[in-house]
Assembly symmetry: none
Homo-oligomer: 167 residues x 4
DNA sequence: TTTT
DNA sequence: TTTT
């Protein structure tokens, strides 16, 4: 039983196609990069300045399968999950931390694109969730150490999904 | 699968002891009256005016039992559920509507009184949430990464995912 | 100050065009009927049965104006507000209660239709939300850290906080 | 205006006393370390295994002051904010990222310790928690807005649980 | 009374 | 590093 609350609610757009892999047991795991667009008021100019926040989403179970099948780069989606920060060591042995939003059977996902194919919500509603054997993917989860992010300024608005995604 | 989102989050105090009854099938149903204290600014006086909002909560399943056992008049509690408006007829045959917050296996409840006995959260942990050897299950609590993750690169949740190492 | 939490989060579709009226002071008030689609598993047939829940939304302020202008019957929308139950008397003098979701400056609204014109979020960010030289203000959009944060240690939000560099 | 949703809701305990600093402009900024306790079911033993997740909270504005004054190591608190990941460079010039929960004027904070001194919610209502004036209809914080409100008074505050509970 |  |  949880003795606390740890909840994240996001609506945003995918920065790239989802990546789905399967565990040795055949359980699907899908990784998403999600952009939420916000803005803040510049105190000097009084103008609203756009800001894009990028989130790492990791999905498990049936919801992971549905996301892998129906979501695509640019898809708008509602996500409910929980925060989790993982500790790891980089090549130099230094402690590093990565924060992700975990979407599992306790989470929820809703496609918000009319074009989109389908939607899936969990939380008791996804019984059985039978899984087949599974393609064994390669790595793909490991975000390449993070140094690939050599942008020169603000991450681009989500409108342009051809740009690099920060971190 | 839901094609929408319907979520209510409340923190408040019970106005009376909970009332638990059982269905013909022996399933517990607990009713609560919950008060949330708020305030608004009076536009004439500029003063903050307190306001109490009362909510009807209906709980099902294990969460209903826990609430019936441990909550009491005055208990402070966190509740997550969904809105539901029921239609009924009064004595004169007129249509009437009552809006309740439903807390079932998809909801959550957290006791916030130190005095209080215990807390209960659902969503996977609740009885009935088949989880045994089933493939999907573990995903929910995916112990990927964690302090013990002493690898030299990014943690690979998928691998650890099938392991049994606590975190 | 609130001593409780009273939050509602909905994603659904309008059952009819919004209705906007104005108070004696000229403040806009918009009423919406919102449908959230859900489903539950019939315990006898094991089938998922669709269910539509209808919600009464009442919006105030700028958000009411935007909703009145851009939302239409069928529009998909994200709404964040609070529950409020109003007491009134019907013709026979009987007490009646109506539960609504209030969306004011503390709430939020997001249009989720690509067709739709615009989106509006409140919570201090709305235009007119006086923020000028006031000390507190900027905190709201605190551009602490970000790409330009080229320090050699952890980012120090407080320093950047007074800067004007976007992020 | 935000075109997305980025919301975090946490209930947990402080791992240490809050640290409050002030910007050059005199704006308070408070940092918290918050632990949320969860648990997952070990698939081999079937036992629930506890898990603690740690979160970095950064507060701005009045809420930062209140937190600095009243919260202490061990305090239980409800927090609503948004996710933000900051990029910075470590001593070796490597890109690093830190994810924080920002609690500003759009966020909320509620102390959940009875011992605790006070609570503070933002979102327009903030300053001057003075009480007194009489209820007045309409307006941004519209107490049961609408002409149909023919009640005989506001419902009683939750403090007195011996009073009748409305409807 | 909506939507996919 | 918290809490029950």
């Amino acid at each position: 039983m949880a003795r606390g609350v740890n909840k994240v609610i996001l609506i945003g757009n995918l920065g790239a196609d989802p990546e789905t892999r399967y565990t040795a047991n055949g359980n699907p795991v899908t990784n998403l990069r999600l952009a939420t667009d916000e803005s803040y008021k510049d105190r000097n100019t009084g103008q609203m300045v756009p800001r894009t926040e990028w989130h790492r989403i990791v999905m498990f179970g049936k919801i992971a399968e549905v996301a892998g099948q129906y979501l695509r780069k640019g898809s708008k989606v509602y996500i409910e999950g929980r925060l989790q920060t993982n500790k790891w060591q980089d090549q130099s042995g230094q402690d590093r931390y990565t924060t992700e939003i975990i979407v599992d059977i306790n989470g929820q996902m809703q496609m918000l694109d009319s074009r989109g194919g389908d939607s899936a919500g969990t939380g008791g509603g996804a019984p059985g969730a039978a899984q087949g054997g599974a393609p064994q993917g390669g790595g793909g989860y490991a975000p390449q150490g993070g140094d690939q992010n050599q942008g020169t300024g603000m991450p681009d608005p989500v409108d342009d999904f051809d740009d690099d995604i920060p971190f």
